[in-house]
Amino acid sequence: MFYREVGEFKSTYAADQVVFPIRQDRYFVWAVVLFAFVGVPLFANPYWFSAILIPFLILSLAALGLNLLVGYCGQISLGTGGFMAVGAYAAYNLAVRIPGLNPLVAFLLAGGITTVVGIFFGIPSLRIKGFYLAVATLAAQFFLDWVFSRIAWFTHDTPSGSLNAPPVTLFDFTFDTPVRKYLLCLSFAAAFAVLARNLVRGRMGRAWMAIRDMDVAAEIIGIRPLYAKLSAFAVSSFFIGVAGSLWAFVHLGSWEPLAFDVNRSFSLLFMVIIGGLGSILGSFLGAAFITLLPLFLNQFPAWLGLHWSTALIAHLESMIFGALIVFFLIVEPLGLARLWRIAKEKLRLWPFPH
């Protein structure tokens, strides 16, 4: 009854092109952002920050990057973990080797380096597609894994291969407490979400979607696959690289190459599928779902008074993930984001659906 376009008169082009055309939507989004920045730090405890909220935000950022590539441009990638590793190691090497370089700047530069690497590994996409491309990106994953575990220069010659990130500071302000880390991640996630949203509704995003829907047809109507595909790889890798450096510096603190193995790639792909292919909101929903499910599964037996071994829970988790993937692909290929959209449609007609 209240949630509808009726009564909103748009008198300028700018007003017509806003991201959320319905006023209530805009209010709602602002409320969510305000709550995330002000409300959450007031209520949440340190455990929530370090175990749920920070990983959720960083993984959302990575999933967002992957979603641009898989969901918007239709180029499937199984190398996300490897690209996150590039971001993490690039940021580390920049921060350690260049004295006086602020880690925050290093994050963005690391994103830039990941972009270059991503474009390089995206070149095969001009020639091959579908699962051939999936295998090609898997090659990137294994190659990058090997590079970071074997070439000592990247790990600064530490004998064990595990690294400790320097503290993240801005002027005299150190991001050391969970709340500060959370706010840092939230700022990154929010800024990149806005960026992504505007990219996909612009010229670039439309070219990606044309390529996704049918690349031969897109080429015929004048979209250059070279630019469209490589720009998707570039933007996606930038997001993933920044997420990788945040993951290493802010969430893990100290890490080894195993933190970015092929399972990370799979879990990010699952986030994108479950959350919704081709949806910004979906990336966040998917990341939330996949971060929360293991925690829930860990707690669940205890609530029932059962004592399950951790191995059993891990296997159960993998079973549930697998079943959910198949379930979503069959029932709702557009994921959780689509459910949200359906709910909004229903709400628009409520309470007189006819």
């Binding site: 579908g130 294994f142 074997r150 015929i220 191995a311």
Partner: protein
């Protein structure tokens, strides 16, 4: 020279094992256009079932029971996953098999346990030395490797005959060419898929037995599917001989690179070398060695 031949032979035999897994992938792709990422998980599941059943019953009975399990699994996959996803783009089906992979890995280990199990089928293990009169010291060959080679060779011949000569084989090829056309001349699509997934399950069982008796039956069996991916890419997704030749090339390439190239750039390159070879090859010939030419239409 003797050492070189030994490395070559070792590579060929490892390649045969990759081919076994790749074969399952190719079979399913040929008949249903599904790129089955779950083949490795099926290998693990089959091997785990066999090894745990052998504890309770004699070998032939356990083998039979495992075959039945693979049949049931194929039926379940066809019924619960493939049938609802008919006519979806290939990439959705691929992601669905990713889901199956995770499900099977979890399910198999909950059902059968997640330790390392020893699989002993009485295959002779002691190495034999051949060509002793040609080279000093001869060439060392594991007799279990020889056994694996013979089994895979036999399997390939049987499958080739099955595909080329039998009624079902022809139906499978028809389905692979065009789902709708095959259906319209009265080939039951669902049955065909059930058959091909069962056959792939049995191939997985053979691969599981041979890998399992070498490495022990454990979770890492599931990862050999990742090794089989470059093999099918190299050989071509639609070609059974391609899977074999691709497997041999990858096997030899891997061993050669590890032995001759590895010391120079730091070792452990086995993991990605095969992928790089396959990738370089894809750029030149996207359909693989023996694959059918890919034609895009609007």
């Amino acid at each position: 020279m003797g050492f070189f031949l030994e490395v070559l032979l070792g590579g060929l035999m490892a390649g045969v094992l990759y081919s076994l897994v790749a074969l399952g992938l190719v079979l399913i792709f040929k008949a249903s256009g599904v790129f089955n990422f779950a083949q490795g998980a099926m290998v693990l599941f089959a091997a785990l079932s066999l090894v745990r059943l052998m504890e309770k019953m004699p070998l032939p009975l356990a083998l039979l029971a495992t075959c039945v399990i693979m049949l049931v699994l194929a039926y379940a996959i066809e019924r619960l996953v493939l049938r609802p996803l008919v006519n979806q783009p290939g990439i959705s089906l691929f992601m669905a098999t990713l889901g199956i992979t995770f499900f099977l890995e979890g399910f198999g280990q909950i059902l059968w346990g997640s330790d390392i199990y020893k699989l002993d089928l009485g295959i002779p293990k002691q190495p034999i030395i051949i060509l002793e009169n040609v080279f000093p010291g001869g060439i060392l060959v594991g007799s279990d490797d020889l056994f694996a080679t013979v089994v895979s060779g036999a399997l390939v011949i049987v499958l080739a005959i099955f595909f080329q000569k039998t009624r079902i084989g022809r139906a499978l090829r028809a389905v692979a060419d065009d789902h709708q056309a095959a259906q319209s001349i009265g080939i039951p699509l669902n049955q065909i898929w059930l058959i091909v997934w069962t056959v792939a399950g049995l191939v997985a069982l053979v691969a599981g037995i041979i890998w399992g008796s070498r490495l022990g039956v454990q979770f890492s069996l599931s990862l050999i599917a990742l090794k089989a991916l470059p093999v099918v890419i190299l050989g071509g997704f639609t070609s059974v001989p391609g899977a074999i030749v691709g497997g041999l090339i990858i096997g030899v390439g891997e061993k050669m690179s590890e032995v001759y190239l590895g010391p120079h750039i730091g070792g452990g390159i086995e993991n990605w070398f095969a992928y790089t070879v396959a990738l370089a090859f894809l750029l030149v010939r996207p359909e693989g060695l023996f694959g059918e030419k890919i034609i895009d239409r609007v």
